[in-house]
């Protein structure tokens, strides 16, 4: 394409944006609303994910040792387990320490333990895991190996919790794409309709351009660029609105989580995610206009 063609296409895009300003603004606005909903969901997912990952860090594996394992043997077990790739640290909890921890957890109700044998609780090893090994499958593998060790009586980990967390994150991921799919379809159709309107409005002009020898690319390019601009403008507007909503609502978003969110920090979408949303808007605008142009400018 010659430089003169580039200038020509740019001029036609500018003219169309001027002449059909309200139609283009309305489309960019609807596009922005669509991407705002999707971006909002992305924001929620990101923060819930962080919250859940925070909870995940609290997941420890408890290895109860046989009653006949003395402290030296338990230390041997601890050192062995610390060599496992999943284990960040292993802490030995003696029977006495376990008793004290239990009492302290009961607080003012610790009196109910009066008269009970302070050595009734087994000694244990508390395993802290690395970030990448907190999934149910990774923990199950570790548990299997640990349970087979001599001197280990029982291994416990919050399996039900892990399953719930996994389902929650998976559900959110699925919901994101289902919701996204519906919203993208809406945005796609809206951009397509606007481009169709622009084509119909300039039908005579297009015919004249064809008669004076304009190639298909030269005729189609302005409409496709309009779609790109609409998509990009809609995405930028959605990001702006999302940022504003995030600033205004702030900590209120954490309220539904109550004490579960204690200490949690809300974060906005990172640069990469903002870029993704912009690219998504641009792609939707482009795809909607390309389809419309192919259909109505045959």
């Amino acid at each position: 394409m010659k430089l003169a063609h580039v200038a020509f296409v740019a001029g036609r895009v500018a003219r169309s944006l001027r002449e059909l300003l309200w139609t283009h603004l309305l489309t960019a606005g609807v596009m922005a609303m669509t991407l705002l909903v999707f971006g909002g969901f992305l924001l929620i997912q990101e923060n819930v994910g962080q919250l859940v990952r925070g909870w995940g860090q609290e997941i420890h594996v408890f290895v109860y040792v046989d009653g006949n394992v003395d402290r030296a043997a338990a230390t041997g077990l601890r050192m062995r387990m610390e060599r496992y790739p999943e284990v960040r640290a292993a802490r030995y909890v003696s029977r006495e320490r376990a008793w004290e921890d239990f009492k302290s957890a009961l607080g003012s109700q610790s009196g109910i333990l009066e008269g009970l044998d302070p050595t009734m609780l087994p000694a244990s090893l508390e395993l802290e895991l690395y970030d990448g090994y907190r999934s149910r499958d990774a923990i199950a593998g570790l548990v299997e190996r640990v349970a087979a060790l001599e001197g280990v009586q029982e291994v416990e980990y919050p399996e039900a919790w892990l399953e719930r967390l996994r389902l929650l994150l998976m559900g959110m991921e699925w919901l994101k794409w289902v919701l996204g799919g519906v919203l993208f379809l809406v945005a796609f159709l809206i951009v397509g309709s606007t481009i169709k309107l622009a084509i119909v409005a300039r039908r005579d002009e297009i015919e004249i351009m064809q008669l004076v020898g304009a190639g298909t690319g030269l005729i189609r390019a302005p409409f496709i660029i309009e779609g790109m601009i609409q998509g990009l403008a809609g995405a930028a507007l959605a990001l702006g609105l999302l940022r504003a909503a995030f600033s205004f609502l702030g900590a209120e978003l954490l309220a539904p989580f109550g004490s579960l969110a204690a200490g949690a920090q809300l974060t906005f979408l990172n640069t990469w995610q903002c870029g993704e949303l912009l690219v998504l808007g641009w792609l939707l605008g482009t795809a909607g206009s390309v389809l419309s142009v192919r259909r109505f400018l045959a």
Binding site: K2, L3, A4, F8, V212, G213, G215
Partner: protein, 230 residues
């Protein structure tokens, strides 16, 4: 060398109306000829077949040795860039100024903006529209619009000019001026084919005239009575 060749070209509209019937003729490169006949004779249809706004039902059209009968897409666009077209209904874009309308044809072939405006302005000046270059077509008279359409057809210095009733809305003085312009570009080597039903245009013309009647090209033996009728 023949610039345009038509071989047994027909155009039939459904269900069975023949706009053009079995037309065969040739136009030499650099020739200036008129296609005459009353309204409904098939002149416009024949021109539309030539610039491929319509597709022939039968026959073959060769332009500069190339079969254009079934041209499509990029090939059709490239072919049309060789042509300068003047339409009976002008086909001007109403929201573009006279100069922009003229320059449009140059813009689409990639002529730089400044150069295409300069060419357009020169042609508008030659056609007496120097002061109307910034006016929108709806504010121009029929004759002025027609001259803008002529200027647009000539702006790319095309190899062939196909003009449908290019003087239909012009007073005799302006019509003569436009014809002089066509004659001048013909002298520069451009092939010119003008369709008209106006016999006045032929009075001072000594070139070839093709006569059409009811979709057919009249044969040589038909010419004398037909010519005398005009």
């Amino acid at each position: 060398m023949s610039m345009i060749q038509l071989h047994s070209v027909s155009k039939v509209y459904p269900p069975d109306y023949a706009g053009v019937k079995d037309v065969t003729f040739q136009v030499e490169a650099g020739e200036f000829l008129f296609l005459c006949g009353p309204s409904g004779a098939g002149k416009t249809t024949l021109l539309r077949l030539l610039f491929r706004s319509e597709q022939a039902s039968e026959g073959q059209i060769l332009v500069d040795g190339r079969n254009v009968t079934r041209l499509k897409g990029a090939g059709l666009a490239a072919y049309r860039r060789k042509l300068g077209l003047v339409f009976q209904d002008f086909k001007l874009i109403p929201h573009m100024t006279a100069l922009e309308n003229v320059s449009l044809a140059a813009d689409v072939v990639g002529v730089p903006w400044r150069q295409s405006r300069r060419r357009g302005f020169r042609l508008l000046s030659e056609l007496g529209l120097k002061d109307k270059y910034g006016v929108l077509p709806p504010a121009l008279s029929g004759g002025e619009q027609q001259r803008v359409a002529i200027a647009r057809a000539l702006v790319n210095e095309p190899e062939i000019v196909l003009a449908d009733e290019p003087t239909g809305n012009l007073d005799p003085e302006r019509a003569a001026e436009s014809l002089r312009l066509f004659a001048r570009i013909n002298e520069e080597g451009t092939t010119v084919l003008i369709a008209t039903h106006d016999p006045r245009l032929l009075r001072s013309f000594d070139g070839r005239v093709l006569l059409m009647h009811q979709g057919r090209l009249l044969r040589r033996e038909d010419l004398e009575p037909a010519a005398s009728a005009t």
